[in-house]
Point group: C2
Chain length 299, copies 2
């Protein structure tokens, strides 16, 4: 029997979990207990603070619905999602384009569009063109690659936020030509705040953070035999380009729309070439998920 | 701007939280991010495992109701509650009796009983007597100390589990005499499983753990000017005395009921003297809470 103090209780917990049949579950929970206990010891967590933490997590749980993934938001604002992304990137067989967060607004089945189409059904904002190539790690164009795009409109809203209907908008799916080229029209998206009306928003505010994500366009690029690329392009002149609340911005993903005589359309243009790594083994997955699937899995 | 990898993302997160106005919140969240990130790096958490974790936490949150504190249960089975208890004990000005978890079954307003009364309204099980003194750290008896007691019956059920009514039973409140003496009758409680029908129970089972708490009687002992003592006495011959699922047992809290000529009643007896530390500053709190208050606070 242990005489439990703040150190021996950790040993006792690890001992009791030592016979976990699944080796990976054992490894993860062993590490979770050690790091959780080290955290509590480091800050000398008091009973009142512990109870605040329990209440906060309960509140986060109750906020989760089929259209609101508050625990993912918590992971995002603590930088955990970006960290898991970075760890995942290291497992790619080849160096591809840097990745970024999938986020909660990806939807399957976006409309298939033709090169040069606009991804917006209507807009009063000035148009820009995005173009470039999808390349393999050696720089060869990949034909028939799928380029899925989604973004906010010029008011910072995704389709589901801008309209009452379920109709998809500000998103689309393109296919590269024989040389790997893609191009489409859109408007410059506006950055936006992460949802601030829940417990995670309260925490972000209490930390003196602004809660904004800089203006960005999401991409999901895929081709047979290549690792799926989940990324986003960020606009350089956004006020929050250096302080994304969910840590999605990498220097290599920052772009500007400018006059470009080589662009396929006479509009301010962003040129970006995506590089795909060969696929690793099967069963790769993304950092991010449809909130309705999480809540369904949790029921 | 950072180029984010699995290390620089930690710096980026800490930088963004560096202006938190509340110094204690800053300290706690800084440590939480560092330890959470260190955990993810150590186990090389994959996107699929991350999503499993998000789903698990969502499930735990949805399980929380006014009568079910699933996040406290998670804290309990990971040893965090016992650890926070141990940290709290170290802040006592004097060495008192070892503490143990409050648990979710404490209820305010238990009936005030007279010395020697039974805390059970009825029972077919053989009775035992518990007796002893409430002492200060110097060994002097404390008169008029309050001794609150609660436990399961011989079938391992607390009052709310055993009956459909709200009526309190298997609990009571006693007051020590001029020399600090208390005594009361009860039956030997049966150990029980923590709630195993939720996500935490699934985890405990997946870890190959039995889920039992050994047979025990809860005590909450208080007197003006002294630190409130939250503890429990555990029965030595219980099969799970060395493997309490929530890590509540300390050697000094293990007892047996035996023949005892000095006992105030002719029944198998447990003698236990409780020692109280002087109170520290005001506003002390307990590790544990009424689930209905957590859910209320979370709404």
């Amino acid at each position: 029997m242990h005489d439990l103090d703040e150190f021996t209780v950790t040993e006792a917990a690890l001992t009791q979990m030592a016979n976990t049949p699944d080796a990976r579950l054992k490894q993860i929970m062993d590490a979770a207990v050690r790091h959780l206990h080290a955290f509590a010891r480091e800050v000398n967590l008091t009973p009142a603070e512990w109870l605040k933490g329990i209440t906060f997590l309960t509140e986060v749980g109750h906020m989760c619905t089929p259209i609101r993934a508050e625990f993912i938001l918590l992971s995002d604002v603590m930088g955990l999602s970006a960290l898991v992304n970075a760890l995942h990137d290291k497992t790619a067989p080849e160096k591809g384009t840097d990745t970024s967060l999938l986020g909660p607004f990806y939807r399957e089945g976006a409309p298939q569009l033709k090169p040069g189409d606009s991804i917006l059904s209507e807009t009063a904002a000035p148009e820009i063109v995005l173009y470039g190539r999808v390349l393999d790690a050696g720089g060869q164009g990949i034909p028939d690659a799928t380029v899925q795009v989604w973004q906010t409109n010029e008011h910072g809203q995704y389709d589901l936020q801008a309209r009452s209907s379920e109709q998809m908008d500000m998103r689309g799916c393109f296919t590269t030509d024989a040389d790997g080229n893609y191009h489409f029209r859109t408007v410059r998206p506006l950055g936006y705040m992460v949802p601030m009306d829940g417990p995670v928003g309260k925490l972000v505010r209490a930390q003196g953070r602004h809660g904004y994500r800089p203006s960005h366009i999401h991409f999901l690029v895929g081709a047979a035999g290549y690792r799926e690329l989940v990324t986003a392009l960020y606009f350089a002149d956004d006020d929050h380009i250096d302080s994304d609340t969910v840590f999605g911005v990498s220097r290599s993903l920052v772009v500007s729309a400018k006059a470009d005589p080589q662009a396929p359309l006479d509009l301010p243009a962003v040129r970006y070439d995506f590089r795909l790594s060969r696929a690793a083994e099967a069963g790769e997955s993304r950092v991010g998920a449809d909130p309705s699937k999480i809540v369904k899995a949790a029921e």
